[in-house]
């Protein structure tokens, strides 16, 4: 027994077969689950708060009601302010049109920028992982570094030159202007993820395809891409998250037509005072698509982020 206590003194809540100290093991478990639950609350409470606040009225906010149906009666007031409540869905509504316009802008810019980045990035990553290039002094590692180093570039450096350039090109306040910039910002991340993907695919596959008479592009499109599809999905979703949430460029470069959802949310924060339910509804509408993506496609997001981490 003394022996057992001695080992349990040395071993820091380890797996049960090592020790007879059931109490200590139990305490460790409690501590671990305690931390897990506290952190879950830290992560989820702001989301819960926003979602419930969007169904509150002024008195509920002021009295600090928290739980719907228990201490307050949910109302659609918040969603009426963006025209999305059941009562208003059948009718014409200018606020809803405004909201939907911003929403489509966000969907189109984020979607096309991510798609473009995945296409360009996959090609580049494939080329860099399979062939040897030489442009002047630039060899493969240099070219990779050239692309990845774009990550360091803070957006503020590009913002003002682009403001001037886009003014001259008549790209200000257009979706295409935003799409091009967003593609640029996520391209290094896509290349990073995809390079990792292609390196894990054996070259023998393509060699076999080439022997069977396919060209290198044919082998790339018909053999390699289908295998690398999960990686591409991961890269696409990660890009989608980053571009959907982007605020800085959108705030500088758009004004009326191409304004995206984050800019709309930001422009309402100052003006509305204590009109919390409207803001909460708008914020919920901005975060719900990504929460759904996060819950359903969590696997891919983790895969994408883990790609660069492990070598």
């Amino acid at each position: 027994m003394t022996d057992a206590t001695q080992t349990s003194a040395q071993i820091f809540h380890d797996s049960e077969h090592d020790t007879g100290g059931r109490v200590k093991w139990f305490a460790g478990r409690v501590a671990i689950y305690g931390i897990l639950i506290i952190w879950t609350i830290v992560c989820l409470f702001p989301i819960y708060w926003t979602l419930t606040t969007s169904f509150k009225l002024a008195p509920n906010v002021m009295q600090g009601h928290m739980i719907p149906w228990v201490d307050y009666q949910p109302s659609w007031k918040g969603f009426e302010s963006i025209g999305m409540s059941p009562r208003l869905l059948g009718q014409e509504s200018t606020v809803r049109e405004e909201f939907l316009k911003r929403f489509t802008n966000s969907v189109i810019t984020a979607g096309s920028a991510s798609l473009l980045a995945v296409i360009l990035g996959s090609m580049t990553a494939y080329g860099l992982s399979r062939f040897r290039y030489r442009f002047g002094f630039m060899r493969n590692p240099d070219i990779s570094f050239f692309f990845l180093s774009q990550l360091i570039l803070p957006p503020v450096v590009l913002a003002l030159p682009f403001l001037v350039l886009y003014k001259e090109l008549d790209f200000l306040d257009t979706r295409i202007g935003l799409i091009l910039l967003y593609t640029l910002t996520v391209l290094p991340i896509v290349i990073w993820i995809m390079r990792d993907q292609f390196q894990s695919i054996p070259v023998e596959l393509e060699e076999a395809a080439l022997v069977d008479g396919l060209s290198i592009w044919g082998a790339f499109l018909t053999i390699v891409l289908p295998i690398a599809l999960p990686g591409m999905v991961a890269a696409f979703i990660l890009s989608l998250v980053l571009t959907w949430n982007e605020y800085f460029f959108a705030a500088l470069l758009t004004s009326t037509d191409a304004k995206t959802l984050p800019v709309m949310v930001a422009s309402q924060t100052g003006s509305q005072g204590i009109n919390w339910w409207a803001m909460a509804a708008l914020s919920s509408a901005a975060i719900i698509p990504l929460i759904i993506i996060g819950v359903l496609l969590e696997r891919y997001i983790i895969k994408g982020m883990a790609a660069g981490a492990v070598k």
């Binding site: 820091f12 702001p46 002021m62 600090g64 062939f131 290039y133 990550l151 503020v156 913002a159 001037v164």
Partner: protein
């Protein structure tokens, strides 16, 4: 780089490229390049009013550049055959990045040394080093740089929390998938939404739940954004809240890549949990940790959205980051020239400090005796 010689795909083909084909290729490249130059010249003349043509904007130059890019791609195949087809894989992205980064950066250098107010009618005027002098005497810019150092140092705390969470998630727990999804969610939210959700509503002095909690704990009149130190800490916490999941996932991937038997061997050799962590797990995690921290630093240096939306740099510039400062500098005074200079100085500082950081890490990881 993991690409070794053996990983590459070797294909030997004999391309029969005659002089005629070669001529067509060169014609494509230089012809379209000539077209680009011509369009550019015509546009310059038209914009300065030397010739009677009227173009609304510079788009024709863009189309000409696009056309040149396509011709360059086609010419690769015409000129170099099989090798050209390989170049096609990386050519589009390269041209895209050069057009979107290198060209604007060169352009930015020109703007940085000029006085250019976009809202006034008079155009750009070169003013030499006036902007540099102004920057040198601008206490708010130096203050913003100092704040960035604080914000960056906060990453150490974020790293400790992220590593702790990753260790717990990698250990044997029930409902791991649920916790993983829950911990990941903050990363999905847009900083603008976060700044409203937390900054403007939960931290609101009268009705926000956190203010209520603070009152209940005995803080009489909670105000989170009037004291400089507290305001800065709040910004750090909000930013950490969104980005801890990012580090956590990277570290978790690193932990799961450590072979189980290494830890088991350490345990058999008598290493207790704590020693096993410090002497086995942590050293094995170092490369991943450094990658995660480096990427986190890069993201941290872009920090702006939350500050712009919650405090707009206040109180008295205590929460300003460089990006948010330049953003307001442009918004309030629409001075493109000065803002660009500040941004370029920032970029230079970043490149220098990241290089030093990487050199130090390299020295520390591979000591030379």
């Amino acid at each position: 780089m993991a690409t070794e010689e053996g990983d590459l795909l070797h294909v030997v083909t004999d391309d029969d490229i005659g002089p005629g084909r070669r001529r067509i290729g060169h014609l494509l490249v230089w012809g379209s390049f000539g077209l680009l130059i011509a369009v550019f010249a015509v546009l310059t003349l038209a914009q300065t009013g030397r010739i009677g043509l009227e173009f609304g904007n510079w788009r024709p130059a863009l189309y000409a550049a696009l056309f040149w890019g396509i011709c360059l791609g086609v010419a690769q195949v015409v000129l170099y055959g099989e090798q050209g087809k390989r170049t096609l894989f990386i050519l589009p992205a390269t041209l895209f990045v050069i057009a979107m980064v290198v060209f604007p950066l060169v352009f930015a250098l020109g703007i940085a040394f000029s006085n250019w107010n976009l809202s006034s009618l008079e155009g750009r005027s070169f003013n030499g080093f006036d902007n540099v002098v102004q920057m040198w005497n601008d206490p708010f810019y130096w203050n913003a740089l100092k704040n960035m150092v604080w914000y960056t140092l906060a990453i150490i705390v974020e790293y400790v929390i992220a590593l702790g969470l990753a260790l717990i998630l990698a250990s044997e727990i029930k409902a791991r998938k649920f916790f993983r999804v829950a911990f990941l969610l903050p990363l999905m939210l847009s900083p603008v939404a976060v700044s409203w959700m937390i900054g403007k509503s939960m931290l609101e002095g009268r009705f926000g739940p956190i203010a209520r909690l603070a009152r209940w704990l005995g803080w009489d009149r909670p105000a989170f954004f009037s004291d400089p130190e507290i305001a800065r800490t709040m910004i750090m916490i909000m930013d950490a809240w969104t980005f801890i999941p990012f580090m956590m996932i990277m570290l978790l991937a690193g932990l799961q890549a450590i072979p189980r038997d290494v830890q088991e061997a350490a345990r058999v050799d008598g290493a207790s949990g704590w020693r096993g962590f410090w002497e086995v797990t942590f050293p094995l995690m170092l490369p991943v940790s450094i990658t995660a921290i480096l990427i986190r630093i890069i993201f941290k240096l872009k920090l702006a959205d939350i500050i712009i939306n919650v405090t707009s740099g206040g109180p008295g510039g205590a929460t300003d980051s460089v990006t948010s400062f330049i953003f307001r500098e442009y918004r309030d005074r629409s001075n493109v020239g000065y803002g660009t200079l500040l941004a370029i100085v920032y970029l230079v500082l970043i490149v220098i400090s990241i290089t030093i950081f990487m050199k130090l890490v390299d020295r520390w990881m591979n000591p030379r005796y």
